[in-house]
Symmetry: C2
Subunit: 192 residues, 2 copies
């Protein structure tokens, strides 16, 4: 079923709203009022609600957009870095992404139907991205083979669950350890 063409001003406003929402969530938290987002985007409330029927739909859209951006960065890194380096850089990027999702995570587990498809979206975007990086790095002999992307994604997610203020340093240190664990027992091509 062909999608009805969307006007240019509608596309422009949608982008503005998503950018504004991202910035407002970062500065005022994921519970910041829609009026603040509208003011920052320079649009009316009706403009936001015409495109996002409920506030949670807007939150979910921001999340999906950031998943898209982070997943796309895997391809970009693979094109400009050696396999092992690309993998490490992306895992650090992903860890940073998870860190900024703390407040969003609370909303995600609120039971709101708008969020129920997000875990799947998350997985269907990140898993292929990381699998590609892992395969390339393993083929280059820079990491061991046989590590499932999903397991790594969950591991970083779990390691990011920290209850003290030293959380970020702890998480970064543990992710470094994880990466070194990947390197250990890598099989160099010439050794095969």
């Amino acid at each position: 079923m062909s999608e009805k063409r969307v006007r240019a001003d509608a596309r422009r406003n949608e982008d503005a709203v998503l950018e504004a929402a991202k910035a407002v969530f970062a500065s005022s938290g994921v519970d910041a009022p829609v009026r603040e987002i509208a003011a920052k985007a320079g649009v009316g409330l009706g403009t936001i609600y015409r495109r996002f029927p409920e506030r949670s739909d807007l939150v979910a859209a921001v999340f999906r957009r950031e998943v898209d951006t982070c997943a796309a960065e895997a391809t970009a890194l693979a094109e400009s870095h050696p396999p092992g380096e690309a993998l490490v850089l992306w895992l650090k990027r992903y860890t940073a992404f998870i860190a900024t999702k703390r407040g969003l995570a609370a909303a995600l587990h609120s039971g709101d139907p708008a969020f129920e498809k997000l875990p799947g979206y998350f997985r269907s975007n990140f898993e292929p991205a990381l699998t590609a990086l892992l395969d390339a790095a393993a083929a280059a002999g820079e990491v061991r083979a046989g590590v499932a992307a999903y397991d790594l994604l969950r591991a970083v997610g779990n390691l990011s669950i920290a209850s003290d203020e030293d959380g970020p340093a702890y998480t970064a240190g543990m992710v470094d350890l994880l990466i070194d664990g990947l390197r250990f027992r890598a099989v160099r091509p010439a050794e095969k």
Copy 2:
């Protein structure tokens, strides 16, 4: 500094409010409106806000009360069951407690200052309770020694993070496995 005596009707209403809040959170979710809680408790809105300056203070109070109840059950179980059995029963009770805190967990991670002392309250109540049960069970040779209560509490918490509808069954099964892991390599007193 001596605490000013609180009137009997004030104490009665506070209990009524906390009981009502617990029931309303269970039936309507942790975001249920204060008006619903007031109606169920049979008090006015001013009565709630006089004792709990903000809604999040009420949520935190409900949580502390349930932590108190669950922790106290450890002592009660120890008095009426053999050590190993008391340990198992309490771990299951604790698992059930964690399960009912899903919605509350979202609120807890919202960044609200009312909740920032709760992890400490949680830990300072549950850790001694579980340590006592573990020590008694180890002394009876029913479980291995050397397992930190805090590690177990966190493990059950982490195992309770499930993203599908089979979560409860999965969690129960994994907690059973954990308990069996405790039993394995228990040192019977006569074998020492």
